[in-house]
Amino acid sequence: MLDRRLLFVSGKGGVGKSAVAAALGIVAARRGKRVLAISMTDRAGLAAHLGVPKLTYDPLQVRPGLYAAVVDRSRALDEYLGLQLHVVRSLPTRQLSNALSVLADTAPGIREIVTMGKPIFEVWREEWDLVIVDAPALGQLQSYLAAPQTITGLVPTGAVQEQAARLESTLSDPSTSGLLLVTIPEELAVLETREAIVHIDSHRQIVIAGVIANRVLEPLGIATATVAAVPDGPPRAAGLLHAGLVEAQSTWLNSIPDDPRLPFLFGFHTPGEVAERLAELCEEFV
């Protein structure tokens, strides 16, 4: 999972994708890799899980070997123009990027390609062994993955089009890039994950590197009937709740690939603690 150069982490909102992205970054850095963890959304999730107040566009070292950043759209657009399109220096770039930000808010694909371009540029830069992306939630992810093709359809020639083609080939190269889906064993999350798997497999924009089920409860180890038979009170009530949740989860676990599972974490208060613990657990399977 960590052998690729670029790993996108996505899932339905609220399943813990930022926590898993942070945990994998921690594991990879511990193994001596030079890692960039980058959030494609402006949300505070990745920062909190890495134990820093906020992220910036310029990578910030958060622990030995692990750097973190967030994609800022207007900075990304400037970088896209300046670095990648080799715009002539004498041009008033500010005005040009104004023109393009109008486009980015209107024409399909431009905003997405600029945002998604950033982590891919970081891979091209060859500064990192691994770039882990805290990607948008599943609902929005597909328009990002489709962006290079959308652009190709929209602008038939020119530098933007060439750029899009290059992004597309990096993204779809299975030895370079992969997508990790995080889910939880509940109805909506599992159904959305399964739909995404079908969609992504058929569009071949990126290869799915794995499906991780998060917040999985361990069975109690005693029969539910035994729990039901003890006298009323908190021990019985907590036992029945646990057993009932395990049973409900097992239905949904059965309908996703049998990939690594991460347990429900009891008693963790802060996102930083959660990511640390998940990193220890991830050690076993990555």
Partner: protein
């Protein structure tokens, strides 16, 4: 009549059970003398079955087995078509609805689905058909989009974009052929390898014709929102709690005041203390040890929940309601009705 319509807006982060809670609230409110509609967004399959919802439609259909209850599922693109037809001239409407940029914006602009929901809610309020409306809101960062959508949509159409492209005065369509003479745009066009900017500007001009009527509409929608009762649903997990806090921080911008925070999947507060006491009434040592260990874990969760909720209620002084954690989310009509039984303070809101 519409002034008498009671509106409940149910908001919160994704995955906390908003849709289920909305449906359960509507069931409590509905009755032969209280025509109630619940407007859902993307309900889970089994909940949709219970409400007899089988396709996207803004037109409510009666819920079998519950007197006085109707339900609908947000059809955002139908809402937008309605908006375009109502607030632009017929020939512009046709051009816009077939324009692929319009489709792209309606699909991707984060506030677009939220605006569709606010518009549909307002139409229902104004129809005078309902005594009560429960509105489930589209998933977004903490549910704020629902309240920001009217002004964001007007901003988008009123055109910071267009303003930059065309200058301060709103030009006629003829202007298009002059403004593309600006050198910057020529360069941009060269990079993009096509007449893309011209296409976009033409589209934005069409969109701009809706501005005045849409701005007036947005003001009406915001009045409906302020008059409604807003309930924020959350679980005690760190991520949704953080979103609730952010929601409160930013809400002051839209002058909406939530009437309550509803903690879903709540554990009995007594479990934390019970976990510290020895268990005496279970003779089998193995069973006793297992249940003790299990109660210790869940008791710790209960304590964590309590401190997370104190953080919200203490800081913002809103009533806190708790809905107990049940193993299987309720999906049948009977379970949904029971879900909110005994939730203290709820009937004051409804």
């Amino acid at each position: 009549m519409s002034a008498d319509t009671q509106t409940i807006i149910v908001t919160g982060a994704g995955g906390v059970g908003k849709t289920t809670i909305s449906a359960a609230m509507a069931m409590r409110m509905a009755g032969p003398d209280r025509r109630t509609v619940v407007m859902t967004v993307d309900p889970a399959r089994r909940l949709a079955d219970a409400l007899d919802l089988h396709e996207l439609s803004n037109e409510p259909s009666p819920v079998p087995g519950v007197d006085g209850l109707w339900a609908s599922t947000l059809d955002a693109s139908a809402s937008w078509e309605g908006v375009v037809h109502r607030y632009s001239d017929p020939e512009v409407a046709d051009r816009l609805l077939t324009n692929h940029y319009f489709r792209a914006i309606a699909d991707r602009f984060p506030a677009a689905q939220a605006f569709a929901a606010t518009e549909t809610m307002s139409t229902m309020i104004e129809s005078g058909r309902w005594d009560a409306i429960v509105v489930d809101t589209p998933p977004s960062a903490g549910g704020l989009d629902f309240f920001l959508a009217p002004s964001q949509t007007v901003d988008l159409i009123g055109g910071k974009l267009l303003h930059w492209l065309t200058g301060a005065q709103l030009p006629g369509r003829r202007f298009l052929y002059r403004f593309t003479g600006r050198p910057i745009l020529k360069i941009a066009d060269t990079i993009l390898g096509g007449a893309l900017l011209e296409d976009v500007a033409e589209f934005l001009l069409d969109l701009r014709t809706m501005y005045d009527r849409l701005a007036a509409r947005a003001a009406t929608i915001q009045r409906h929102q302020r008059r409604a009762t807003t309930v924020v649903v959350t679980t005690a997990d760190p991520a949704p709690v953080a979103e609730v806090l952010r929601f409160f921080e930013e809400l002051t911008d839209v002058s909406v005041e939530p009437s309550g925070v509803l903690l879903n999947r709540a554990l009995p507060v007594g479990w934390a203390d019970a976990a510290r006491r020895p268990i005496r009434n279970i003779p089998d040592a193995d069973v006793r040890a297992t249940l003790k260990e299990n109660l210790t874990r869940w008791g710790g969760e209960a304590r964590r929940q309590a401190s997370a909720m104190e953080g919200i209620a203490g800081r913002y002084g809103v009533p806190l309601l708790t809905v107990p954690w049940v193993a299987e989310p309720p999906t049948a009509v009977e379970n949904l009705t029971q879900l909110l039984d005994g939730v203290a303070g709820l009937d004051d809101l409804l």
